[in-house]
């Protein structure tokens, strides 16, 4: 592949690309509030997602408090515990992870990495953020209405979600459903934008196979989200109708508070199929951007091309496609036809092959690299370790027979937090440490960052690894208290206390990170335009932070793939994508120049 990159005949002839007529914003509000600049929108997404994520973090601490030290706060009763469970899960999965990867990193990186001036539809992009903000506010309103937010679990399974006996059945669940519907509307606007921008607005020479893996990951995740979210949208609307006007999409003939309800003929299982038809791709909607970003972090900081680029791209595509045919592995013990188990166990384990290939290629990229243990690299390695762990425990749960005793236990909690919470969050941190210098022009503080990394990485491992063993013993999840359950050994309580302490320490470490973000914004070391000596286009902008329009007068022209690190015979250990072959400084040139 390296050879081909230097074949001059394969490029589009260099041509001057005029600066588009961008509506340059005026004034503070135009620049930072009603902004149509993808980079500003990205930061807005990021800050909103972080804020709501902190709420979810506090909720998780309240849960941990109850589990580790039962009944120490009379504020936490069985109902409010379930409300914390529900809101924590939904916020983290949808309003934090989905929003920050696609709305945050997608907005910031797609135009810059593709060599575009902005998203293709800037106005729609702005609208997408404000609608997202509205969905967050509707969600948060649930905390303040009578009866509180819904406590149905983030999976919102009917009939329970809209039946008395579940907290928030009056208003909380309605707000949750409306908020999700609004979120999906907002996301669809943003998502279409990302897809069209990647397909239509790449600069000259930026072929699909020269896109950084970050863009590939975000692109594929967005395509998936555009296909998966409608299933949730439909489910949400149907449940709203069941709740508000008494239809029976998901509600069968049943009792409600001991009395016969008016519902007839609905199917609770139908909701589960719709939910997981969205829910499983959702896992990869979060994971694929993380996969992409971490590939770029590893390549840049190991000064080595990503190993098997084409295989990595195909793995992303195959994982994306396969993830639509595995959803029912969340439903092995749901009471669906057990014969589905054969099909879904097989598809689920097949998806492990492309995923394993990605892991191999990451570690093979490290092999014979020149590894700089920078903060982004630390987080990338933390991700690798955590992801391997969480991925392997997924092989237990995907294998239908093994899943039967482990489902609905803490094994599941441990697994999905490893693979879908800690692993992507470590990537988000790594990515922030990596791109913060581009976004603000300043470096984040290294010492604070290291403390933050080690506490987060080791702490989360202490939290989640032992949970697998609690699950092995059969400890059920979503339990407010365990009382005198005979098959649960007494030591589980001590273990829960240890986990709770670890959770509080990890949570405190996040304050350090927030402090670092704020402090470095004013006092951080000046970064320069390309502090990591990276090849991709966002580091080649004329201004740091990049201004509206990104690339100044002329758009860059791309001559090579994004991983020309440590190319033999070249003087520097990286060649930016927009450096034409004739401008590459070769070792022989310098020798001729007599510098050595």
């Amino acid at each position: 592949m390296g050879e081909r990159e230097y074949d001059a005949s394969s490029y589009a002839p260099p041509a001057e690309v005029e600066e588009m007529e961008l509506p340059h914003p005026k004034g503070f509000f135009g620049k930072y509030v009603w902004s149509q600049d993808a980079k500003v929108i990205a930061v807005q997404y990021g800050l909103t997602a972080t804020a709501i994520g902190l709420v979810a973090l506090v909720l998780s601490l309240l849960m941990r408090l109850q589990l580790g030290f039962p009944n120490s706060l009379s504020l936490i009763d069985p109902g409010s515990y379930l409300q914390y469970v529900t809101m924590h899960g939904m916020i983290m999965v949808v309003y934090l992870l989905t929003a920050i990867f696609l709305g945050g990193f997608g907005n910031y990186l797609i135009p810059l990495m593709c060599g575009a001036r902005d998203m293709v539809f800037p106005y729609l992009n702005m609208l997408s953020y404000w609608i997202y903000l509205a969905s967050v506010l509707i969600l948060v309103a649930g905390f303040f209405v009578a009866g509180g937010s819904t406590g149905a679990g983030w999976t919102l399974y009917p009939p329970q979600a809209i039946s008395p006996g579940t907290p928030g059945v009056d208003t909380g669940i309605v707000l949750m459903l409306v908020s999700l519907a609004v979120f999906i509307v907002g996301f669809t606007m943003g998502g279409l934008n990302y897809v069209v921008t990647v397909l239509q607005a790449r600069t000259r020479g930026m072929t699909l196979m020269r896109l950084p893996l970050t863009v590939w990951g975000i692109f594929m995740a967005t395509v998936m989200a555009l296909l998966a979210f409608p299933a949730l949208f439909v489910a949400v609307l149907m449940m709203l109708m069941d709740r508000l006007i008494g239809t029976s999409f998901f509600m069968p003939e049943m009792l409600s508070m001991g009395e016969s309800s008016d519902h007839r003929g609905g199917s609770p299982l139908l909701f589960q199929h719709l939910f997981w038809f969205f829910g499983h791709p959702e896992v990869y909607i979060v994971a694929l951007p993380a996969f992409g970003i971490v590939s770029d972090l590893i390549a840049t900081h190991a000064r080595k091309n990503i190993f098997g680029y084409r295989m990595m791209v195909w793995a992303i595509i195959i994982i994306g496609a396969l993830s639509f045919v595995v959803w029912a592995h969340h439903m092995y013990v749901s009471g669906m036809s057990p014969y589905f188990g054969f099909l879904f166990a097989t598809t689920t384990l097949i998806i492990a092959v492309p995923t394993a290939i990605k892991v191999y290629n990451w570690v093979l990229t490290l092999w014979r690299g020149n590894i700089r243990l920078t903060l982004p690299m630390l987080f990338a390695i933390g991700f690798l370790f955590t992801f391997v762990n969480g991925g392997l425990s997924g092989l237990f749960l995907g294998n239908v027979t093994v899943d039967v005793p482990l489902s609905d236990t803490y094994f599941v909690v441990g697994h999905f937090h490893m693979v879908m919470a800690v692993a992507p969050i470590l990537v988000i941190f790594g990515a922030i440490y990596h791109w913060y210098p581009k976004i603000t022009g300043r470096m984040l503080d290294e010492t604070l960052g290291k403390v933050h990394f080690w506490i987060t990485f080791l702490g989360t491992y202490v939290i989640y690894y032992p949970m697998h063993f609690m699950g092995l013993e059969g400890v059920p999840r979503r339990y407010y208290a365990y009382g005198e359950t005979t098959f649960i050994s007494d030591s589980v309580q001590s273990l829960n206390a240890v986990i709770t302490v670890a959770a509080f320490i990890v949570a405190l470490a996040q304050l350090l990170f927030l402090f670092n973000l704020a402090w470095s914004y004013f006092r951080g070391r000046e970064a320069g335009s390309n502090p990591w000596q990276a090849t991709t286009l966002e580091w080649q902008t004329p201004h740091t932070p990049p201004r509206h329009g990104n690339f100044g007068k002329a758009l860059p022209i791309v001559y090579r793939w994004p991983y020309d690190y440590s190319v033999p015979g070249v003087k520097q250990d990286f060649i930016p994508q927009n450096v034409p072959p004739e401008a590459v400084e070769r070792e022989s040139d310098t020798r001729r120049g007599g510098e050595r």
């Binding site: 091309n305 391997v388 009382g483």
Partner: protein, 459 residues
């Protein structure tokens, strides 16, 4: 970094071998499930260690020390193919045994006997098919207090169905059993950890799983699918016994026809009640000086259950419960039919106002009561379907004492007192005596409108 990874990997592997938290001892035929779990542990364990060690070596050998450059190698088709092939093999090794076991899981043996498990917020009940070996049809829409299983009255198969309404079921050892699950309201999941198998119960359809209990003993069943606020307290007991014991027990359980024909006679109960008057008062109003609580207002279901509990030693069995112990001899003197008659009579007693003796913060109590309302009703009138007795208008000093007893496990810890078990769990939300008084102060307030109306207001 490398050191940390080594320590984590070693720690993880050691944790696997040394962890005190392992699979519960198996009590069913599903040893094959345990074997697939071990295979998974070994295969994934090897991969985990290999990948981690590879990273560690890479980190040690290829760290940037400012002297060398990274190797340039975009692809290596052979290596990638090999890795893909090996991974595929490993995955197949995990999947194949699992699928074979699943084949057994799906196919129920012909000689399995059938037991229906019915889930309901927040308790379990059971049904056996009776002599004809077939279950009668049932529908949730037919469920009421007189027909808790919702059986279709004119289905002949249903007449001999044996109904086990308490959340305690016996199963014969070494005989395959097919559990057929359904739910009256929301999703539930019947899980007994040592049996390994489990399945959701769904309203409006039947689900199933099967297993063979392989050793005798008592096992706890829990609900493993979120079903509302008392999800964590939804338990049952499964006792695996010798076939003879099982047959005897099953013979004692009533059939649908017997239950329908069973009539309690309140007038006969009135005669029995003469004994109760000396402590509980002539109209069952309760007497604090005798530590005898009000009975008037309680429904027959609750009274009968408590009398049976006293009789079998599931209540009042602890020394700390002095007044409960006093109650036991009276209950023991009663026969089955007398218990039913007496309970039916008590249900007819008029509810009169009780004096307030407890002072507490009713506002705080109101917040605490939210959890209670799910079973006992927002107005505190109790709900038979939830086996929850009336609270409003009962003696407040008695409520305080019982709540304290539940909190301390003096009442409700007995394995046969299933609903008492639930109250032990729920009472933990009252973190101190003040909380107990607060919630009772709120219940006192409920009594006022409840007295006037005599029925539960719209929520």
């Amino acid at each position: 970094m490398a050191i940390a990874l080594i320590m984590l990997a070693t720690g993880s592997v050691l944790f696997y071998f040394l962890s005190p938290w392992q699979l519960t001892p198996l009590a069913s035929n599903w040893g094959a499930i345990d074997r697939t779990i071990s295979i998974s542990f070994w295969v994934t364990g090897v991969v985990f260690v290999a990948v981690t060690l590879f990273m560690v070596v890479a980190l040690l050998r290829y760290r940037d020390r400012g002297q060398r450059r990274a190797h340039y190698e975009p692809e290596n088709k052979r290596l990638e193919l090999w890795l893909t092939a090996i991974t595929t093999l490993g995955i197949a090794a995990l999947l194949a045994p699992g699928l074979f076991v699943w084949g057994d899981f799906v196919r129920v043996p012909d000689d399995a006997h059938e037991v229906e498990v019915v889930g309901q917020q927040w308790h379990w009940s059971f049904r056996f098919p009776g002599e004809d070996g077939a279950f009668g049809a049932a529908r949730n829409g037919l469920v009421d207090d007189a027909n808790p299983y919702g059986l279709v009255a004119d289905d002949p198969h249903g007449r001999d169905d044996i109904l086990v309404e308490t959340p305690r079921v016996l199963l014969p050892v070494d005989r395959p059993v097919k559990l057929i699950l359904r739910s009256k309201d929301v999703l539930h999941n019947f899980k007994v950890a040592p049996f390994r198998a489990k399945m959701d119960a769904i309203p409006g359809q039947h689900t199933y799983f099967w297993f063979t209990p392989t050793r005798t003993g008592e096992f706890e069943a829990v609900c493993a699918e979120l079903c509302g606020i008392a999800h964590f307290a939804m338990r049952a007991r499964v006792e695996v016994v010798e076939p003879e014991t099982f047959d005897d027990w099953l013979g004692e359980q009533p059939t649908f026809a017997e239950l329908a024909g069973r009539q309690a006679d309140p007038e006969a109960g009135a005669e029995q009640f003469a004994t109760c008057v000396s402590c509980h008062g002539p109209r069952g109003g309760g007497r604090q000086e005798n530590d005898a609580p009000r009975l008037a207002g309680l429904n027959s279901d609750y009274v009968a259950r408590q009398l049976r509990n006293f009789r079998m030693g599931a209540r009042g069995e602890r020394e700390a419960d002095r007044f409960g112990q006093q109650m036991r001899p009276f209950a023991i003197s009663l026969e089955d039919q007398q218990v039913e008659n007496l309970a039916a009579y008590i249900e007819t007693l008029p509810v009169e106002p009780t004096p307030t003796t407890i002072i507490g913060d009713a506002r705080r109590g109101k917040a605490l009561y939210r959890s209670c309302a799910n079973c006992h009703g927002a107005a505190g009138l109790g709900r038979t379907a939830f086996r929850a007795p009336r609270l409003a208008g009962m003696n407040d000093w008695y409520l305080v004492r019982q709540l304290q007893h539940f909190r301390a496990g003096i009442r409700g810890r007995h394995p046969r007192d299933a609903y008492g078990n639930q109250m032990v769990d729920m009472a933990q939300i009252l973190v101190d005596d003040a909380a107990v008084r607060d919630v009772v102060a709120h219940i006192n307030r409920l009594a006022e409108p409840a007295m006037a109306e005599g029925r539960e207001p719209e929520e």
